[in-house]
Symmetry: C2
Subunit: 215 residues, 2 copies
């Protein structure tokens, strides 16, 4: 399945393929060619074939790709359905929304615990969980060995807690904080979600379009 090192650009497109294939599957489509899929997704057919062939030949000449097979292959490649253990740090607005809004289980994760240091939030119900005191976080990690940590805490708190998490075997961070984990840790997967940066980018692009218009 895996073929050496696949570039991050390719990997980042996989979840999107996965989504489109799921829709096709739900719509009852049995087969699709790279050409048809490219039209639906706004990519080139070449890129789709190139991307998929990083992982193996899933198609059939003259026919295209079987939607269900390809969907399941990509699920496997992504490693969804592994039930890794996740913990969430920070039960503020964003943290609570992430806990309630995301479908963790369909993406190979189980949310095992929600932690915060604010006494006012202790015991607060968030979905089927109760917010726990960060004071117990290290003991929890020792006992349960979570695989990934979701950081919905301020920059300084993230910086302070990260070494402990790494020491206890955390393998990935889903990082909503402004702390630059990538710079300090090696061999650990970090996915940054910088919402503020995204909004700033939108601001730039709206201005750019407006300027182009008035010229």
């Amino acid at each position: 399945m895996a073929k050496g090192n696949v570039s991050l650009s390719v990997i980042r497109r996989l979840p999107r393929y996965h989504r489109f294939l799921k829709d096709l599957l739900n719509a009852g489509t049995v087969r699709i060619s790279s050409g048809d899929l490219s039209a639906k997704m706004g990519l080139t057919a070449s890129q789709i074939r190139q991307d998929l062939n990083c992982f193996g030949g899933f198609g059939q000449q003259g026919y295209g790709y079987n939607v269900r097979d390809l969907y399941e292959e990509i699920s496997k490649i992504l490693g969804l359905g592994k039930h890794r253990k996740a913990i969430l740090l920070g039960a503020g607005n964003l943290g609570r929304a992430i806990a309630l809004h995301m479908d963790f289980s369909s993406r190979g994760f189980e949310l095992m615990g929600i932690f915060d240091s604010n006494p006012a939030l202790m015991g607060l119900a968030v979905g089927d969980q109760a917010v726990q005191d960060s004071a117990g976080l290290e003991a929890f990690c020792k006992l349960h060995r979570p695989d990934i940590a979701i950081l919905c805490i301020p920059k300084e708190a993230a910086k302070a807690v990260a070494p402990m998490l790494v020491r206890h075997g955390i393998r990935g961070f889903w990082n909503f904080s402004h702390y630059d984990l990538t710079l300090d840790y090696d061999g650990i997967a970090v996915e940054n979600v910088h919402l503020g940066d995204s909004l700033s980018t939108l601001c730039f692009r709206v201005n750019e379009l407006e300027q182009a218009e008035s010229e």
Copy 2:
């Protein structure tokens, strides 16, 4: 200031420069060289100089860059501090968190209204706003002419409401839904935040690291 067309890769780095410069400014740093900044940010000095020179020569040979000046230049380039009008569609967990968590005003936006179609949410207070009925959305748009719409609604709802928003002059979408706006509209800025895709990518990368370890 603007120098023709700047690539999206460069633009996406600007908010990050902006953040680091703000930190330097708060720390009282007066000047910084591309070399020092590159070490802090994990980039090459070359790239920093290349990026900045898309917009003009902000440095001084033999000295480097003045932190405050550069910070303000980038603010200007991004167009922060313009007070554009934003509306938020979808007052679910994610929508409410975005409304409460983001600092819109420091990024050139003013959140003018929050809309939802769920009767149970009507009038609910979210920060200093109350959730309004989507039934009144078109009239609101006609009257207030919002610049951007934040979509925290399901795919089908996004698809249904987008044409109306575009008709009333929306210039940008901050899109948290799975609807692919980019495919249907031209000349409108779309920033997608696909949280699910990001989580799936993390899943892949954690697996990849683990496999590499066991080899």
